[in-house]
Symmetry: C2
DNA sequence: CTCGCTGCAAAAAATTTGCACATTG
DNA sequence: CAATGTGCAAATTTTTTGCAGCGAG
């Protein structure tokens, strides 16, 4: 997944952001795991590699925020944390399947699984899911106020 | 939605729990709104009714936890908070659609919407969604350890 | 009357904000 | 050099825990 780091850097620069040590580290950490990482967990993960320095939690929050905005990372809720986006180039839907045992996460692309919420990717077993739509309610369709 | 309160009480008792003032209040608050309520927001909501007393936040957390366990409430993530479960009797899937403008939430039952993630309930417009599956990964299928 | 439930105090965890200083391009 | 980005301090918010006393059944 060195691919990811390269693509992330490209996107970052394309959007006018600078490539800094902190950002590289966060990107590297996300690329190196298939579990959800909280900011603290991410730093812990980085420390294992004994780098000269590790970014501050605040910075990690800010970088994750940026990566999310750029479509390079997703926040997951079933298990709290962030994961690298496997298909940043895809603007469409990104679904995740999270192992209840070990926390491993796989990204399920596009409309896959949409047709049958109980069909899992090869090798996985689906037990349940969380599905939340965001949209506009009838009330807010018209005026826009919404009370 | 007095229906909800009645059903909630029944379920609570059936499961061997006591019906207390705090629980009644939390249930009433959930029944009275179609937005996600955080524990603090829920108490705020209750205060508007000028009751003699309002439950402590800790208690609200505990009650929400219990209601979730009993299938009487759902936690939502797109907007942080809890909502009453519209169909407690349904053991199956519960999906939510949340208005990005006003926060209004509607529950979408069963497998509805599953076939086409872009089809909305009457009057609603869908913009995006969060879909997370929980399950078991290939690694954890066998041994069960999962590393 | 008994055990479950609640409130209070307090700690722990998660997230946000402001500002002076360091760094990238 | 001029933004842009970072660290540090600190405040805020959210969630969890322990325990003594209250109240539902």
């Amino acid at each position: 997944m060195d691919d990811y780091a390269a693509q992330a850097e490209e996107r970052l620069r394309a959007a006018g952001y600078r490539m800094t040590r902190s950002r590289q580290q966060v990107i590297a950490a996300l690329a190196a795991t298939d579990r959800a990482l909280s900011p603290y967990a991410l730093i812990e993960h980085l420390r294992a590699g004994r780098p000269r320095t590790t970014p501050d939690v605040v910075t990690v929050y800010r970088v994750l925020d940026l990566l999310e905005t750029l479509g390079l990372a997703h926040r997951v809720h079933t298990v709290p944390g962030w994961v690298a986006c496997t298909w940043p180039e895809t603007d469409g839907c990104h679904h995740h399947i999270i192992c209840a045992e070990c926390g491993r996460i796989a990204e399920v692309g596009g409309e896959d699984l949409a047709a049958d919420l109980h069909t899992a990717p090869a090798g996985w077993t689906v037990r349940g899911h969380v599905l939340e739509y965001s949209g506009t309610c009838p009330e807010c369709q018209v005026g826009g106020a919404g009370g």
